[in-house]
Symmetry: C2
Subunit: 310 residues, 2 copies
Amino acid sequence: MEINRSSISEWLKELQDSICDWLEQADGGAKFEEDNWIRSEGGGGRTRIIKEGNVIEKGGVLFSAVHGDAPVFLFKEQQHSPGADANLGKVGNIPQFFATGVSIVIHPKNPFVPIIHMNIRYFEMDGGIKWLGGGIDLTPHYVNDEDAKFFHSELKKVCDRHNASYYKKFKEWADDYFFITHRKETRGIGGIFFDRLNENNEMSFNKNLNFWKEVGQSFAPIYTELITRNKNKIFGELQKQWALLRRGRYVEFNLVYDKGTKFGLETNGRVESILMSLPKIAGWEYDFKPQKNSEEERTLALLKKGINWV
Amino acid sequence: MEINRSSISEWLKELQDSICDWLEQADGGAKFEEDNWIRSEGGGGRTRIIKEGNVIEKGGVLFSAVHGDAPVFLFKEQQHSPGADANLGKVGNIPQFFATGVSIVIHPKNPFVPIIHMNIRYFEMDGGIKWLGGGIDLTPHYVNDEDAKFFHSELKKVCDRHNASYYKKFKEWADDYFFITHRKETRGIGGIFFDRLNENNEMSFNKNLNFWKEVGQSFAPIYTELITRNKNKIFGELQKQWALLRRGRYVEFNLVYDKGTKFGLETNGRVESILMSLPKIAGWEYDFKPQKNSEEERTLALLKKGINWV
């Protein structure tokens, strides 16, 4: 099949369908509701939201494909992309861009089930620019070593099948990206993150595309396993309160640092789709300190860069 | 009394004491707890937090006075301040700054009691710069016309006693400042906001200082009145859920737009003091639409710039 923006978009829509099926199965109760939206400047999206399920409290699986005139900051940023024409943005015409992707955030009910995020995106712009980006990261309210090992090992397997250097590189990138600078804490146990992958990297574009597709396909089986392992664990008031505080940190990361959120809000994106990533409820307590030797203290101590989970 | 950084700081500490007394009285239950902190680069603060009271769910009244080398972005910003030496930052030495202020955010339990915020600040920097800034704004979960009129009328009285143009000017400034651009909503019903007031404005520095002090002193009686009027109103599940969503918006404003929060997080300020402004709990619901002709719908329709509340 020819690889072009439309074949990539179609593939992403099928991925969205498949992930929604997996998640409805794993939840066993709630069903996704769909909103189709149109971007007046070009393109649109298919937002799917699930809520108040047996396992999932609030979550979304979003597809979008948008195009049009590139905003100034966007084409300025791309001038340094590999393959970019040196005259980009200097030739009188406004460069055209195209961006398509699938984004997921799932907030579970049970504090022992982790929050998960996945995004894969494809970007094209006049002047010879095209690249792939993506990432998956896990935010456990309570870090469970076996789950962390499982999560990272699965991602490592996906990476290793395509390029021996990718897991190490993209795991470090995730540690740096999913970092709440003002708290000096990572958002969770990380995962992988990569951006601007294209034919100028060590592999051809098509080989990178295969890697990128496999990242997308790895999401549903990995998260389903984590749900199955943890969904029936008993929790009480302490765990609920702690989960609220961890979700407060999630909100801080998304509103202060997340590039996708910033990009969306600054380019007049569809607010309800962008902010579907926020939890149903989150909490803040002044200068909260967990009890000595508690599970909460142990989790806090593990929200650091550079831990080898595999 | 001579007016200098130390006399202004001392006055602010007394204001903090007085406001804490008023709020403890109005709450009738909880007491403030105090944290003194030191900034390693110079200065420090006195953070006072109140929680789980009869009326107040979570709140803070913060004093700080910090000084030291001005960060590059700060002195660049100040080069255009009225009175600034044109050679500022070009003379080899790092300019020294001094900043002191009182900041308050109070989140009440009862959704019929509004959230309130007040900040007054004094800033000095080498190169002839000194100015006053401040603001008060009100975020009702449910807009009550009589309360809104009372609130704005009291602020107008304070302004009018000092300068006939201030209320109009500073009310508009608040409408613009306390605006959640991506939601196309104001944070609440506004109030007043002003920045960089000094001797180059239409009044002398000392006259502006008197105005500024009165703004600070107006806070406690105004909020006490709003508490008294509303604290015993009956509310149910609907009002609690709505209040969560309104607090979600408050979080969005503070983390995405508020300049004080950004400044604090970017200059490695004391995180727990900066983020005391966030509510105990906040919520998000995908694409929430209030019921037709409900009180919630009415409030949303009033979160607009340019309403004359007086």
